[in-house]
Amino acid sequence: MNRLFSAEIIRNESVDDRHFILELSPGAAVADTLVGQFFMLKPGESIDPLLLRPFSLMGFTVPGATHPNGTLSFLIRAAGKGTNILKRLPVGTCLTVLGPLGQGFPPIEEGERLIVVAGGIGIASVLGLVKVYQDVPLFYGVRTKGHLLLSPGMLNAISAEIHIASDDGSIGTKGNILELLEAYVFQLRKSFGGNIKIYACGPHAMLRAMAEMSLDAETYISLETPMACGLGTCLGCAVKTAGGIQMVCKDGPVFNIKDITWDEA
């Protein structure tokens, strides 16, 4: 299974002004991908931007008649040069893809309870969890209603337990999603003695805040840093951990929140 392959864009759809869903039909079989793993995409054929861009796999479909190698879909925010090029690529364009890469979220064992937390575009990395484990609670924080990347209808279709908070209160609870989470875990702990696991992805500030909360739950988060190789060879995507420098692309992007040294990460 070659992790370097070409894939054709079969869908490139705006979600809102800044976000879009890119769905690819790979030209070769793709290795099984855990939620939390990522792929790197080449934005066009130019040497500027030069490097591949990393994106978490949001969803996939299995091989079928139309797409013999299944499809891969990504939810992307137009953040800069590369993502803005991707946003404009027409259906039918072929892209260079590298992946799957990195370590996904650890599988949930019997008797464990999973809670999924997403902030903003972080929903892309964790949405797969909600699909795989079904009806796990999803805590999703956004700035304002317009920033909700999936409609409440779509969210409700994938989980019975959706908790939304927005900074301005325009959707869900007004305030920080972590407050809702904290209350929820506190309650759950009263009734459930087993291992509670929180899997989260979101802006740096949110993850950092989570690290400072004393949630009685094992917490895994997905980190982002600039990347070059995606393979652990350039040593560029360093993050400080309790065990020394680690590579987000190879040792992560999913880390146990406890292991991250936040002062400089």
Partner: protein, 302 residues
């Protein structure tokens, strides 16, 4: 078609090698290309003892290039010999061990340790990394010190000794001469060019080390010029590098005076780049009915 070239006593089956620090310890890329097909693998820069490198904020993309300040993080020579070299010995390609030290003594120590190892075919001495501070950097920019550290290292090994030059100098020709006077069998030209980028929103440098090394296509014209100048200044073979993405780019370096070429940053964009670059060189030779790559070296007409 003869693609074989001689790099100061190191015979390569073809002129395409990997640039240190951009191809890990080599084995990571076995998945993407047939390692037996490239001229040599140059491994990540090694030091006598493991080094943890710089804090995060290590890379940043720039127009047609990237800055890095990895800070020479590496597993150390001992671990390399124990864990990586046995894997590398399985491939029918040459292994170039890139290394550095913080002092002349460490250079010597590193060269001795690597020379004693089974499966290292040549040494590439990095005197030019812009990510190390203070006195160290002087080895790469002061010709007197260059000659001194090269001469000391020369005594410590019988392997072909390749000295990798810094582009951050007024005269690459003088540096090339100093390295050759010190005993270099070949030169690698160029390492990265010192650069800097600032996040205008936070006002902080993008790299924790403030400055880092610029690589990629952006620097290619500078690298070609330096290879040209170095090749005219000394008689030893040169491994040319700096922004090589395609076979055509490689041919440009060979015409400028390189006997071999190293593929660096391109590996990040395309992990099969060394194979693709080699393919491109062959196509060019076919198209021009050349049957020996050696006839092309320094073939620029001026």
């Amino acid at each position: 078609m003869n693609l074989s070239v001689d790099i100061g006593g190191l015979r390569l089956k073809n002129p395409v090698v990997t640039a240190s620090g951009t191809f890990g310890y080599g084995v990571e890329y076995a998945e993407f290309l047939d390692l037996n097909q490239i001229g040599a693998i140059t491994v990540k820069g090694l030091s006598p003892r493991p080094s943890k490198g710089n804090p995060p904020g290590r890379i940043w993309e720039t127009p047609c290039g990237m800055l890095n300040s990895i800070g020479l993080q590496n597993i150390g020579i001992e671990t390399f010999i124990r864990e990586k070299l046995p894997e590398l010995r399985k491939y029918d390609t040459k292994i170039i061990a890139n290394f550095y030290g913080d002092t002349i003594e460490e250079y010597v120590e590193a060269a001795e340790a690597l020379s004693a190892a089974d499966g290292v075919h040549a040494l590439e001495m990095n005197i030019s990394c812009p990510n190390k501070q203070a006195g160290w950097i002087a080895f790469g920019v002061d010709p007197v010190l260059t000659e001194k550290v090269v001469a000391a290292t020369r005594m410590a090994t019988r392997l072909p000794l390749i000295v990798k030059l810094s582009p951050n100098v007024t005269s690459i020709a003088d540096m090339a001469k100093a390295a050759v006077d010190g005993g270099a069998d070949a030169l690698s030209v160029i390492n990265t060019i010192t650069g800097m980028a600032i996040d205008i929103e936070t006002r902080r440098p993008r790299l924790s080390n403030i400055v880092g090394g610029l690589s990629g296509p952006a620097i290619r014209p500078i690298a070609v010029r330096m290879v040209f100048q170095a090749a005219r200044a000394v008689k030893v073979p040169i491994i040319g590098m700096g922004g090589i993405m395609t076979g055509a780019d490689a041919v440009e370096f060979i015409l400028a005076g390189a006997s071999a070429v190293a593929v660096g940053t391109a590996n990040f964009v395309n992990p099969a780049a060394p194979a693709d670059v080699l393919g491109g060189i062959k196509q060019y030779m076919d198209r021009h009915s050349m049957d020996d790559i050696n006839t092309m070296i320094a073939g620029v007409i001026c």
